[in-house]
């Protein structure tokens, strides 16, 4: 068949079904947009981190790095230089700091380095060559960062480092990365000597980058390991890429999971929209067969339908996704910025486009061809009783298929929760397979009930629902409602569980005291920067203060994970926030924490190393320390995982008694606000921030919400898509119904009866679809929540989202009924003559 003929046939048929085709385009486009936007968000994060690392380290091959903020003796540098095969070395001092300008503050990674780095480092630092770097007594910060704090140029700003607040001069500079786009990275670069003076770490380094030829890698590595002596890290220069990938993984995975499910919902909407056009396409196939078209030709015609639909939907979806990814799905690092100084920019790769388009095209192909498979491939022969037999066989197959899919979902839930996407797909399939049976049952029950009603409307509704001619359309409407409620319930409730889990952590960690004192800066929200702690003595002397305890914590690289180490004071009553223990007894874990020598480990870290409760775990801290595993926990909301031990064990393992925060308990009758005011007065000008437990908890929660922002946006989008899909489906159903309504008018039924019949029919369809959707949505919640715990390790507080299920059921049903009620009333005004004309 010639392409021009296929195209002509498509074009002439399109006029009559343009509205339904647009609904299908919209459904697929929503799916494509979600896939594309989530892909772009994930890729942008990963690629930005990669560009920043490469922009700094350039061609360096290895890194000798300290395990804590205290760094190591700078004299090690000469030992490194003496290793055979080492071509060049670049000493670096890195410290977390907070820049405070006239218009705000920003957390930055202070990088003190040697002028040579400007020659041998990556493009980011090479742009500093123009400056007289060695003599500089200022911080070079990217222009957007300087702008954000209100610094124009060469202005004096406050640099908060631990307990201290120092005046410093900032030079805004345009920094360029490998792709010319790292200008917003939150870094401040200074000559090494100046940085050491600012931080009070004279004669200390945190890392040394090493350049060598590949041929001498083994020799250089051996030399570096000898110098490290088990208390420093030796790793590839670009190792922070791997650390970041690991940290961003769970967020990307959960976003991917939600996006895939949202896309599935979008594609199912499209599938249902296409089901509305099945009768037309089936007639076309029958006609074409009678007129001598072969199966191949019919498939060609339908493939062209699918291709046009898929391509248009992909174009619309990519445009929509572009809008989403730039306006909503910001590739914000969220709380990852606490441990990784990156400012991502949007990076669109060919893979993101290809993946989204492949999803859209497959959805279009399946949507067009699958419902018509029998019409296309039915054999030439047949018998008159075949339809009845097929219907009976169909019912059995539907039941068997539905139950099999439910069983498959349950197996995935219990045995392979990581395969949640497949689980949601089988669950959605079970829903669609069982729905016709539920609808049939409900119609039968209503039929028995309706004989008690007066009037013809309920009778007409039953007749219409039982008519084989309306079957595909009825199922399409009910299925749209079912999928709409299913999708929104599953995603919203799972999202709610995750948020509740993070809130539990926020409360559990912060509520152990009245007031928290820790180094300022957004990036220090988790209290991971140690400081001298000299303020503790002054605070203890305050009459308003009952006690001051030392909290310790930091980030520690364990393998390729940058882990959050949480070390509350030994005497704290409930060290592990409620609901966070995944394995082990809470009572025993508490006792062991108090006793010391024990550690509570994220399950993901333990599983990765094949460790169990009671096993020894060697903490790769500055002074490697062997501790026993007391229990296994969630990741406390930190994607790479968390380790909890008491503050005294921490001090031993880090060889430092510096606190990361002071937990201040106030005296009786002292309000937190009054306590904070008193503490701030005593501290005076300082680099420390003082927060009540409630304020800190709020900050934690806000950070958690920021981390989940993409998931929140996806949940909202699914709900919007749901309402739109229902509006579209019900609108299409009523429009298609006009000739039939006209026929009924010819038979003498008045407008009121027809309108009520429409309402009955819609009510039954939606009642069956939405209630089953809500039920399956709750099962979906279980599946997703379990997957989030298993796959990402995030804390999840599961509670059946009955309220959300009811709200979604009510919202979708009310929207649909409203659409039936208003345009339905207009549709019933159709002239009886329409039935004769058509």
């Amino acid at each position: 068949m010639k392409l021009s003929s296929i195209a002509r046939l498509y074009r002439v048929r399109l006029r009559a079904r343009i509205v339904q085709e647009m609904f299908a385009v919209l459904g697929i486009a929503v799916g494509v947009a979600l896939l594309f936007a989530s892909q772009v968000a994930s890729t942008s994060l990963d690629r930005s981190a990669q560009q920043l690392t490469r922009g700094i380290v350039g061609q360096m091959r290895f890194q000798l790095a300290a395990r804590d903020a205290q760094g190591f003796d700078a004299r090690l540098l000469s030992q490194v230089q003496a290793i055979p095969g080492v071509r060049m070395t670049v000493p670096v001092l890195e410290a977390s700091a907070n820049l405070v300008g006239p218009e705000g503050s920003r957390s930055v990674d202070l990088i003190g380095t040697d002028p040579r780095f400007a020659r041998v480092g990556g493009q980011l630092v090479r742009s500093l060559r123009a400056l007289r770097f060695t003599k500089l007594k200022a911080l070079i910060v990217p222009a957007p960062v300087a702008e954000a704090i209100g610094d124009s140029s060469l202005q004096r700003v406050e640099l908060q480092l631990g307990e201290r607040a120092i005046a410093a001069v900032v030079i805004p500079q345009l920094l360029r990365g490998p792709a010319g786009g790292l200008s917003g990275s939150p870094v401040a670069i200074a000559p090494l000597g100046y940085a050491q003076r600012l931080t009070g770490m004279s004669g200390r380094l945190t890392s040394v980058f090493v350049g060598s030829s590949p041929a001498s890698d083994r020799e250089v590595l051996a030399g570096l390991r000898r110098i490290a002596a088990g208390s420093l890290n030796v790793r590839p220069a670009t190792f922070s890429e791997a650390l970041f990938d690991r940290a961003a993984g769970p967020t990307n995975q959960s976003t991917g999971l939600f996006s895939a499910i949202s896309a599935l919902v979008g594609f199912l909407f499209a599938f249902n929209a296409l089901l509305l056009t099945v009768p037309q396409r089936r007639h076309l196939i029958e006609d074409l067969r009678l007129d001598g078209y072969t199966r191949e030709m019919i498939v060609e015609v339908l493939l062209f339908d699918a291709l046009v639909l898929g391509v248009v939907a992909c174009v619309v979806g990519l445009a929509l996704g572009e809008l989403l990814s730039s306006a909503l799905f910001e590739s914000s690092p969220g709380y990852l910025s606490f441990a990784f100084p990156i400012a991502p920019r949007r990076i669109v790769t060919g893979t993101s486009v290809a993946l989204a388009c492949a999803g859209g095209l497959i959805a279009a192909l399946v949507g067009v061809l699958f419902p018509l498979r029998r019409a296309i491939f039915s054999p030439r022969g047949g018998s008159e009783s075949a339809p009845a037999r097929a219907a009976r066989r169909g019912t059995s197959w539907l039941l068997a298929g539905g139950l099999a899919c439910l069983a498959a979902t349950t197996v995935i839930l219990l045995a392979a929760p990581a395969a949640a996407i497949a689980g949601v797909a089988t669950l959605a399939l079970a829903l669609l397979l069982l729905l016709p049976l539920v609808l049939e049952g409900l119609t039968g029950a209503f039929d028995r009930l309706q004989v008690r009603f007066r009037g013809a409307s309920s009778y007409l509704a039953v007749i219409e629902l039982r008519s084989p001619a309306n079957r595909a359309r009825s199922i399409a409407v009910a299925a749209t409602g079912a999928i709409a409620v299913f999708g929104s319930v599953a995603i919203q409730t799972a999202h709610g569980d995750l948020q509740a889990g993070l809130n539990q952590v926020a409360h559990g960690i912060n509520s152990t005291t009245d007031v928290w004192v820790s180094p300022a800066g957004g990036a220090n929200s988790l209290a991971t920067r140690p400081f001298e702690g000299a303020a503790a003595r002054r605070l203890r002397a305050l009459p308003a203060v009952r006690s001051v305890s030392v909290y310790r914590g930091s980030f520690l690289d364990v393998g390729d994970r940058r882990v959050w180490v949480v070390a509350p004071p030994r005497e704290v009553a409930r060290p592990v926030p409620p609901g966070q223990l995944l394995e082990g007894s809470a009572r025993l874990a508490r006792q062991r924490f108090h006793a010391g020598g024990w550690v509570i480990l994220s399950r993901a870290i333990a599983q990765e190393r094949g460790l169990h409760i009671g096993d020894l775990f060697v903490l790769p801290s500055p002074r490697p320390t062997a501790l026993r595993i007391a229990a296994l926990s969630t990741n406390f909301g930190w994607p790479s995982g968390a380790i909890m031990l008491n503050a005294e064990d921490y001090a031993r393992a880090w060889g430092s008694s510096d606190p990361s925060a002071l937990e201040v308990a106030l005296g009786p009758g002292v309000s937190p606000a009054a306590g904070v005011a008193e503490i701030r007065r005593v501290l005076g000008v300082t680099g420390l921030m003082v927060q009540t437990a409630a304020q800190r908890e709020q900050h934690f929660r806000a950070t958690g919400r920021q981390g989940l922002s993409r998931l929140t946006e996806i949940s909202a989008l699914v709900l919007v898509a749901t309402v739109l899909a229902m509006a579209a489906t019900m609108g299409a159903m009523i429009w298609q119904r006009r000739p039939r309504l006209a026929e009924m008018k010819v038979d003498g039924f008045n407008r009121g009866v027809l309108w009520r019949a429409l309402l009955w029919e819609a009510g039954l369809l939606l009642g069956a679809g939405c209630s089953l959707g809500a039920l399956f949505g709750l099962y979906g919640q279980l599946l997703l929540s379990r997957a989030l715990v298993r796959v990402t390790g995030f804390p999840v507080d599961f509670s059946p989202g009955l309220l959300v299920a009811l709200a979604s059921f009510a919202l979708v049903t009310a929207t649909a009924m409203l659409i039936v009620a208003v345009p339905g009333a207009v549709a019933t005004r159709v002239r009886p003559a329409v039935s004769l004309r058509e």
Binding site: M1, R8, H283, L290
Partner: protein, 239 residues
Amino acid sequence: MFRLVLELRGLTKHFPVAYGEPVRAVDGVSMTVAGGELVALYGPSGSGKTTLLMLIAALLEPDSGEVLLDGRDICRLSPREAAGYRLRDLGFVRQSLNLIAGADVIDNAALKLLGTEMGARKARKQVGPLIERLGLSERASHRPEELSMGERQRVMIARALSTDPKLVLADEPTGSLDSQRGEEVLGMLSDICRERGVAVVLVTHDPQATAYADRVHALRDGRLAEHVASRALAPADAS
């Protein structure tokens, strides 16, 4: 007389039923139709008329017997060959409900030609004279919903004849028409087919429709029960 186009030899098709005797939809039917001849198969609902047409159109496989078109047994054709036979050698006129909504008269008439290697532009051009012959030139750009039932049926005739077939099967073509429109449509169908030497098998339960036939076969319980001469079945006989 014209040459023999269609010959049915002992054509049989039975449908099994779950409990009871099989339904003998077509039971040993033999008949011939010559080019330019219009043969009506007349019978009540359920007499096997449509099954017989499906067998002739190679849409059903017979249990036994032969359907010969120009001496070729179409029952032995592969599905692909059968489709080619329907596309080029056969025209099918059915009730007018199957026109493509939204497509104009020319596109609807050219549907079969689009299935050939002709291409869309040429196909539209080719059906022009047929449209004119059927008196639809003025309505060529109209869509089905803007046409009367008689006009729609004429579009179906144009589609059936668009590939110059040897045989036309007409399944109750006047079923949804009033008597005057029905006569117009049948008149046109028989005239054009006669002009072109096309054999026509007309299936109907309308006694008036048989008036346009050269021969009328009554079909009862799947058998050709009687052979009524031609153009002479009075309404009274039919009842």
